[in-house]
């Protein structure tokens, strides 16, 4: 796996490009802030994105097991699922990694064997995108579940107070 070694050698640059790509999806002043404020409590968006991208990329190099990536990717997707993005804009950064790698490794990619290796690695990125899609839908489902439960709780309370609910149910049994 010459490619993986090459990716490891280029890791810093690739991650930097990937972070830039995702931060540039925000309006300019927001993007500057997310990139520059280092305190994780003053800048949860920037901090989470920067750090999780590093972990995700490192794990992609090690394995094609998406379970190892799930939590880190979910932290980013949670944020982007409630920001001002369409679904494709919210998760598109995963696919953006392909272009970054091709551009960073253009001098290395000369013959078929290298392209075969790249195709195999890009397969992992495709899986990353599919996982991002699952997680995004999960977040949106969660939003609607929370909203629906709020309404249910409100009406349950009203009915309970009016004596329309079986006492066992009212106790949550």
């Amino acid at each position: 796996m010459k490619l993986i070694e090459k990716l490891r050698a280029e890791k810093a640059g690739i991650i930097e490009d990937w972070q830039k790509l995702i931060f540039n999806s925000y309006l300019e002043d927001g993007s500057i802030f997310f990139k520059s404020q280092q305190n994780k409590f003053q800048n949860p968006v920037g901090h989470t994105i920067s750090n999780r991208l590093v972990t995700i990329f490192e794990r992609l190099l090690e394995s094609s097991d998406m379970d190892l990536i799930r939590t880190d990717l979910d932290d980013i997707i949670h944020i982007r699922s409630v920001q001002d993005f369409s679904p494709s804009e919210a998760i598109g950064f995963t696919l953006g990694l392909k272009g970054i790698i091709r551009s960073r490794l253009s001098s290395f990619l000369k013959n078929k064997s290298e392209f075969d290796e790249l195709t195999a690695f890009e397969n992992r990125i495709d899986h990353l995108s599919l996982l991002a899609f699952d997680l995004y839908v999960g977040c949106r489902e969660k939003i609607y579940e929370i909203k629906a439960n709020e309404v249910k709780r409100k009406y349950f309370k009203l009915l309970d107070r009016s004596g329309f609910i079986d006492p066992e149910r009212a106790d949550g049994k």
């Binding site: 540039n24 404020q37 598109g92």
Partner: protein
């Protein structure tokens, strides 16, 4: 088939960067999940508001009055003349940027118009164009903007995103209070009949029945009776919770959510247990049945109108002083405005605890004491028997609600109370608590269903700090002293930090309180058994 077939290259061209747009462009897109529904006509009419009509935020035509521009200019002129603070705030900002990254909405969204300086600029640019010489002559070059319908829509979008939490004002070297700018713009919008329903309808309810929920006196009595019964189930003790009792020593005012919403209700049970145990001579009022005041999010005049019932009821019932429950913006109104709006309350006495003899000097003018100060004083004077282990199911952190923290400086009393009723407590990081506390993201009347995504963005910095103590120390409950917090933090945490619940401080007090004559198998305020060493072994 005149359309050109796209090439593979063009299909693969994905744009990751948004197009550049100057802040001066007021065009606003009202995306589902980010804005609030318009006030309904019935509520507008009930409050005699201008331009009552059927309209909706998503309509292209907001049905403004023909002379809407003049109304705004006259309204702004009037407020510049009346409020010197507004005039100063318009002129004195040097755009140093100290506030820029302090707003929770900006931190969570990255939208530049949520930077307090730029949000204020949305009004300041109009002010500059109309009221300053430089702006009149040089227009855009001097930072001026033309007032258009798009600007009005932009104001509506962004000034109903500010939660008036005042975190930004802590950092402003000139002391500019951006919350007050938000208040003024909301007043201006109201002149055109542009309110949101979650503020206007509760205000109309409150004007009619005394509380935001529209609960009438007999319904209020029912709710209190219900709580008395629940508390009896829990403790085995039937407490007395008087309503409209003339001649009581203290009038107790709560936000209406306390007797209707969860988890507020568990704290309400805690108050009733506490007052019973110390034998406080108090009364609730079925008319002053709301401490909260959505008038504050509407206009100066509406706030005064809704607040007036508190002193009126204190006078009618002949009490000596007033005690107020856990609530956020309620205390901004009571502590900072009530005295000069509807006072002086010279018919009341300076509050003095009948149990400890402590005189609450800080409230000698308003005559109203915060429940946390009252309880802290009881604890300090050893008047309560408390068993901390009864809160062993909770690993607690404390969220400083914006208004008690920043508007009245109530920082240590809640912590003192918590420290005496729980065994496990961990603070969140210091730049997220006390004066620098992060807002829940849903205050000032915008904690609605329809702007849920916006609330999740605004609440992210708060939730992020909770997540930190949850992961590091195993914190499983976020305590707070604000009714809006108690309503809006549970869904926020369910989204960002599942596994952390929300409670009021007096729920914890009620749990820890050892009551004379309580039944052997008494439970906590949620009617759950206490976790004892024996129950642990059983597990």
């Amino acid at each position: 088939m005149s359309e050109k077939k796209p090439t593979p290259e063009s299909v693969a061209q994905i744009e990751f960067t948004p197009s550049k747009q100057g802040w001066e462009d007021p065009k606003t897109e009202f995306k589902k999940g980010t804005f609030n529904w318009a006030a309904i006509q019935k509520s507008q009419e009930y409050l005699d508001l201008p331009n009552p009509r059927k309209w909706q935020t998503t309509d292209e035509d907001w049905k403004l009055p023909d002379n809407w521009k003049q109304i705004i200019f006259d309204g702004l002129r009037d407020r510049l003349d009346r409020f010197r603070s507004l005039k100063l705030f318009m002129d004195v900002c040097v755009r140093c940027g100290a506030c820029a990254d302090k707003c929770h909405f900006f931190i969570g969204s990255g939208d530049p118009k949520n930077m307090p300086v730029l949000r204020a600029e949305l009004l300041r640019s109009i002010y500059r164009k109309e009221y300053t010489l430089a702006g009149k002559i040089m227009g855009k070059m001097a930072g001026g903007r033309e007032l258009t319908v798009d600007v009005i829509k932009e104001w509506f979008y962004y000034f109903y995103q500010c939660t008036e939490c005042r975190r930004c004002s802590v950092f402003c070297p000139y002391g500019i209070d951006t919350a007050e700018i938000t208040m003024i713009v909301r007043e201006l919008l109201q002149l055109l009949g542009l309110g949101i329903d979650w503020i206007t309808t509760p205000a109309a309810n409150c004007f009619r029945t005394g509380n935001h929920l529209g609960i009438q006196p007999h319904g209020f009595q029912d709710s209190v009776d219900f709580a008395v019964d629940d508390l009896q189930d829990i403790t085995g003790i039937k407490v007395d919770a008087p309503v409209n009792k003339k001649g009581a020593e203290v009038l107790f005012v709560v936000p209406s959510a306390d007797y209707f919403g969860d988890p507020h209700y568990f704290g309400f049970l805690g108050y009733l247990a506490l007052f019973h145990e110390i034998g406080l001579d108090y009364t609730l009022s079925a008319f002053a049945s709301e401490g909260g005041n959505f008038g504050l999010f509407h206009s100066n005049e509406m706030m005064k109108r809704l607040n007036s019932k508190i002193y009126m009821e204190a006078k009618r019932l002949g009490v000596k002083w007033i005690l107020g429950a856990e609530c956020g913006h309620m205390w901004r109104v009571l502590h900072q405005y009530m005295d000069t709006m509807n006072g002086p309350a010279d018919f009341l006495e300076v509050p003095k605890s009948p149990i400890t003899g402590t005189v609450f000097d800080y409230a000698k003018s308003t005559k109203m004491v915060h429940i946390c100060e009252f309880t802290a004083d009881l604890i300090k004077n050893n008047k309560l028997k408390l068993d901390k282990s009864r809160n062993n199911q909770w690993n607690v952190t404390f969220h400083d609600s914006c208004n008690p923290a920043r508007a009245m400086g109530l920082l240590d009393e809640p912590r003192y109370v918590i420290d005496n009723v729980v065994n496990k407590f961990h603070e969140m990081p210091e730049n997220t608590i006390r004066e620098q506390t992060f807002c829940c993201g849903s205050g000032s009347g915008i904690g609605t269903d329809e702007n849920f995504e916006m609330r999740m963005r605004g609440g992210l910095p708060r939730a992020n700090a909770v997540k930190h103590v949850h992961e590091k120390h195993g914190v499983n409950v976020l305590s707070c002293i604000c009714a809006i917090d108690k309503a809006t933090l549970p869904p926020l945490l369910e989204f960002w930090v599942p596994g952390v619940e929300v409670c009021g401080i007096h729920e914890l007090v009620g749990n820890a309180l050892v009551m004379k004559g309580e039944k052997e198998d008494r439970t906590d305020m949620r009617n759950e058994p206490f976790i004892t060493e024996e129950s642990k072994k059983d597990e």
